[in-house]
Amino acid sequence: MQGKQIENNNIENALNQFLKDEQHLVLGFEKGKDGVNHRIFKANVDNFTLLNPMFGINGALYFRRLFSKGTGIILMLRPCEIRAYNELVKLNQIEKDNIIAVSIDCPGTVSLKQETDDIPAEVSQIAEYMQNSGKMRWACEVCREKRGVVGDAGIRIDKNGIFWAFSYTEKGETFLSLIEGDIKEAPTEMLINEQQEAAGFNTNMEEFSRDFSKCIMCKNCRDMCPVCYCIDCVFNGDEYLPRGDALINKIFRTGSSAMPQGKELFHMIRMFHVSQSCVGCGACEEACPQGIPLTKYFKGISERLQNMFSYMSGRSLDEEIPYLTFIEDELKDAED
């Protein structure tokens, strides 16, 4: 594949050149004293880094309801974040015309809840650390797409730890033209390869109730989910989760109930609603104050449901979300 080698700060130069226009912004990672964080850069990039070995939040979350015309934005994010961005574009939550989405190879991440001081800086060392330290998040271990092959352009890492930039669309060409250097043939062997698909997920209600018994219904998982985008969620208000008088009336009508009331209902409904768009990033689990293994359920269910329609969330902008389209001649055995 043809691409450009990234060396001698030429990616920073490219982004700085892009930012010379006042209407341009870059969202990427900033290396600070206390770790790596998301940052929107204006005018110039400082302490910019391509890799973020820590996961706290999915960056696509910041882009919901982004309709501003004329603001050029480059996203330099992990593949899971670009996939969530793709899903939001399909759900009409983002105006994609002026946005260049660049996905960067991800060797895996460590939860921000854990000690992150000992993470090395070099790429190959990070990959080794992720494999051996046992600190890698479970969501990353079973991630379906850690390669930077989604979005308009991608940055891949080869076996020697050298970064390469590739473009996949016309907007990607614009991004590639910003980078100094010549286009040349890149090695085919890359550091991060395709992941094998996991087996179908199975559980039962007892296990589910046990795992979610700690839930306190703070709804952080919903608020931090990049693809859970409804402005008016069904769980706002008293209809699905009654409080006060409505709760007392309901208990008299239906009998005794565990508290907080409706937590299994909440997670099941959310699980179905995000099933086709869930990218399995595990932001819900990061946000959970109770340490519930949310990724196990949400990722397991969404993978099963996406496989039904040979769909993969965020893989490409051309695939339609399965619930929003249909084929007349399918699912003959759906009826009982």
Binding site: F208, G262, H273, S275, R304
Partner: protein, 135 residues
């Protein structure tokens, strides 16, 4: 007496007002009988049924839920039931992962098929009742 009512399963049915609900009305006017536990909810089209309604019905104590609409291709709104088919098939797959697939069914019943409606509903009721009786 109390024992008897407890073993009678409650089934919530979401019925399309253009076909299945008409079929149930026709079954009534033909004096056909279907089990008491079946409660129909009229919806303007089977695709109006958000899977959230189904999940909510089950968590509020229904023993079974069915969604019923027109045969594929016969939808009053041209293509509504194709979306239903995808959504409910996916929901069944999800229930399968939670080992409770038998609680949800999808029927296609047209306005003229009163007998078919009664057969389907009674069959579902009896199966769930058997399972309940067995424990």
């Amino acid at each position: 007496m109390e024992n008897k009512t407890e073993n009678n399963p409650e089934i919530i049915g979401f019925a399309c007002s253009f076909c299945t609900f008409k079929a149930s009305e026709m079954a009534g006017s033909l004096r056909m009988k279907y089990p008491d536990g079946v409660k129909l909810i009229q919806v303007p089209c089977s695709s109006r049924v958000d899977p959230a309604f189904v999940i909510k019905a089950i968590f509020e104590g229904a023993d079974g839920v069915f969604v019923a609409g027109c045969h594929p291709g016969d939808c009053h709104f041209i293509k509504g039931n194709y979306f239903t088919r995808r959504k409910i098939a996916a929901l069944k797959e999800m229930f399968d992962a939670f080992s409770m697939k038998d609680k949800l069914r999808l029927f296609w019943v047209s306005a003229a098929e009163a007998r078919r409606f009664v057969e389907k509903v009674t069959g579902m009721h009896n199966e769930i009742k058997e399972k309940k009786d067995a424990g």
